[in-house]
């Protein structure tokens, strides 16, 4: 099984604060990594392949093992690819919300939301139409607008931490927008779509 680990700059564990040394086995009660499908949940600045040893247990969105060592760093994961991911997730949120706009009788705006063009337009249209929108459809449309705003901030940022945090937040927003429209299955499908996007863009096996 291929396992991955997102780390802070310098291969530092985001929660443990421990610095990992590539190629060196580490032993502990429960070292964590994740499968490809759960990558969108754990985004930080660096992405590494990790080899796990001993009994590997899959728990919720993590893998646990008593032994682990870092393999190669995924060099394709950079602020640039994180920004592209944020943009893609913002458009997914807008796509999920487009049906609500169409159902409410705003067909032109729905086309813009589904179109994948200018994120500014998603934000602007939401602001322009907000008072006319039925309360029942405001939530997913507002979430899509928030996703567009967060993605635009992320894309404009020069701070690597802000970029990866923004990417994680927009991915979360897209998943929650999907969940609002289609329930937990839609949420999981959106997360799977995000994982596939990352795998394709980063060349993960």
């Amino acid at each position: 099984m291929n396992a991955y680990k997102f780390l802070r700059p310098g291969a530092v564990g985001p929660f443990s604060g421990v610095r990992w040394l590539p190629g060196e086995w580490v032993e502990a009660e429960a070292l964590s990594a994740c499968e490809r499908r759960h990558l969108p949940l754990w985004i930080w600045e660096e992405l590494w392949e990790v080899e796990l040893g001993g009994v590997v247990v899959s728990r919720a969105h993590k893998l646990r093992a008593p032994r682990a060592r870092l393999g190669r760093q995924i060099e394709a994961w950079t602020p640039t690819s994180a920004k592209a991911f944020a943009r893609a997730c913002a458009w997914r949120a807008a796509l999920h919300a487009s049906g609500s706009l169409r159902d409410a009788g705003f067909g032109d705006a729905a086309e813009t939301f589904a179109g994948g063009g200018d994120l500014q337009a998603v934000r602007r249209l939401t602001s322009e139409l907000w008072d006319e929108l039925p309360h029942a459809v405001r939530r997913p449309i507002g979430m899509a607008s928030d996703g567009a705003s967060d993605a635009l901030d992320t894309i404009a940022s020069d701070d690597p931490y802000e970029v990866v945090r923004g990417a994680a937040v927009v991915a979360y927003t897209a998943a929650m927008t999907a969940q609002h429209i289609g329930g937990s299955d839609a949420h999981d499908a959106e997360r799977a779509h995000q994982a596939d996007w990352l795998a394709a863009e980063l060349g993960l096996v």
Binding site: P14, F15, A30, S32, L41, W42, I43, W44, R59, A60, H61, K62, R64, T126, S127, W130, R138, R139, I141, G142, M143, S145, D146, R165, A168, V169, Y172, T173, M176, T177
Partner: protein
Amino acid sequence: MADKHQHDEVVCQGFVELATDYLEGALPEDRRDLVEEHLVVCDSCKTYLEQIEATVEALPGAGRDEPVPDDTRAALLSAFREWRTER
């Protein structure tokens, strides 16, 4: 504008209740994973956690290095007794 944060608030409220146990390593593994998953996307809770950590680190040192002067201690005790009486 959007109310996506309604969901966040519920998660954040739950996080506040778990934060101390998280820092002390007292949470079961599944709860710890949920906390960490939330911290990836929530700067507010991350900041809150960092503030608790900083407070915990600072307090024992402050107690040792800066003893409370006698007059300050007396004033504090007096204020506390008055507050209890008023209640």
